[in-house]
Symmetry: C2
Subunit: 140 residues, 2 copies
């Protein structure tokens, strides 16, 4: 495996470890410190800027009922100094799909964006943008 790919997979795993261990300090260190960051938690608008993003993670990780997330099917796409991972996030019996974007900052791969949202099916995907079936209708 390409060393950058290994590092990105490791950074992606560390992100889910930080969630599962409710480790806000580790989470903070995984995100880019200088480059602009954003985060889209499931179902919510985008958070923009490090302060707002980290505040959201501190709130999530301080919740004693925060769920365990199992990350699977991670695949990496690398473009010189940036990359993104798509993966499945399993929470109890629910699956989400996530995009995690990374950049190379000070010699390490750091998260600049996380976007997670519901997934209706693990079957082969199909186009679903229809006017009579808005996307959220697919979830029922």
């Amino acid at each position: 495996m390409d060393p950058h790919e290994s590092e990105i997979f490791a950074a992606n795993s560390a992100f889910y470890d930080a969630i599962n261990q409710r480790d806000s300090e580790s989470m903070d260190g995984l995100w880019a410190s200088d480059a602009p960051v954003a985060c889209i938690h499931p179902g919510w608008s985008a958070l923009e800027g490090r302060e707002q993003v980290m505040e959201s993670w501190r709130a999530i990780l301080s919740n004693p009922e925060a769920p365990h997330i199992r990350c699977s099917e991670a695949s990496t796409h690398i473009y010189e100094k940036s990359a993104f991972v798509v993966c499945i996030e399993s929470i109890d019996l629910n699956d989400l799909v996530a995009t995690n974007m990374f950049i190379r900052e000070n010699g390490a791969w750091k998260i600049v964006h996380h976007h997670a949202g519901p997934i209706a099916s693990r079957r082969a995907p199909r186009p679903s943008r229809g006017p009579s079936r808005p996307p959220r209708g697919d979830l029922n």
Copy 2:
């Protein structure tokens, strides 16, 4: 405005124009041709690779009932030769939130990843990862 920011906004607008005009050829030209691409349509698993992604767009854009998508609140985050835009996609009365990632390829900004999913509220975002309220439950 930074010239790269203008170009990225223009590429992002062209993406929604291609959807609204059901223009598969234009859509094809907006995506990177050499770099790896992926796409997460609302509610579905990730599509990986140019062939699979373009096949999905051809299917969507050939649907005469394909909805009009209004893009708003676009904000750009630039990292040298890569960038991402987060924006709201409004379809009828439904809002989605989208991440569109771009890279610089052959002197132009090209899409490498699109991820759109439901949004429960346009109010100020809040953390919502709770075990008793799985994210898709937030949509009800």
